[in-house]
Subunit: 137 residues, 2 copies
Amino acid sequence: PCFLLMGILFLPSPSLTAEPISARQPALRPHVHKQPEKTTRVRTVLNEKQLHTLRTCYAANPRPDALMKEQLVEMTGLSPRVIRVWFQNKRCKDKKRSIMMKQLQQQQPNDKTVSGFSFCPCVALIPKEKGLMYVQP
Amino acid sequence: PCFLLMGILFLPSPSLTAEPISARQPALRPHVHKQPEKTTRVRTVLNEKQLHTLRTCYAANPRPDALMKEQLVEMTGLSPRVIRVWFQNKRCKDKKRSIMMKQLQQQQPNDKTVSGFSFCPCVALIPKEKGLMYVQP
DNA sequence: GCCTAATCAGGTGTAAACAA
DNA sequence: TTGTTTACACCTGATTAGGC
């Protein structure tokens, strides 16, 4: 259960070799056109194995062609649509992140002041509004 | 898959849990409607075997993904919700405990090392006595 | 009373939808 | 296609309450 694709060696996932239960068929709505009432958006939850496959492929080639995507469909059991969207989002996020990084680096090479927080992409660390700061008593 | 960069802790993507929608609680009135209706919450009592299974899994991976949780559901006979809550509580307790430990260790050697505060106040700062002091930033 | 399962409040990450 | 927004899955941390 390990094979080669585009020069990438895919090993079986360490956690699970057998994939028993949830081969997810997202069961998407056939009527894509908007019904203002039904706002139920079906969110596919990717498991670790699928993510690993996608990420490995992405690392080798962030813009897979149709053939490649087809292979991914087969490997992950995801729909082509999910594959496509995932790569779209991934490219976008990556780009955004790299831009952020560059800003961060050139902004303060080794400044340790609190002001550096304003550029911290991890929002959790920034009190948004009336958040609280933790200090030692 | 979690790393530190420029003092920012990047956590791995959240583990995935497929939770049936039916498990969502109807969000009963949090307010003054003190209706005499029974608010008895059902408390699951875990037996030794279930605890052992959960603890073993936790030791190997405190953040199981959807597949793993599904297996746990099968092995323990517990609902996905109970599994999820157990892991949440366990992580929280563990974290709290480890923080206590670290703070105990650091208590004697030195004081007033505010290093790290400017980078990560949420994580780095540890209460000296018992509990955190909150101040407005 | 202690331990902890369940709940709550608030936040994060991201798949999906949408806009350009 | 890229860039932005939205909705949802799931998190943490604090709190509440059930069993022993």
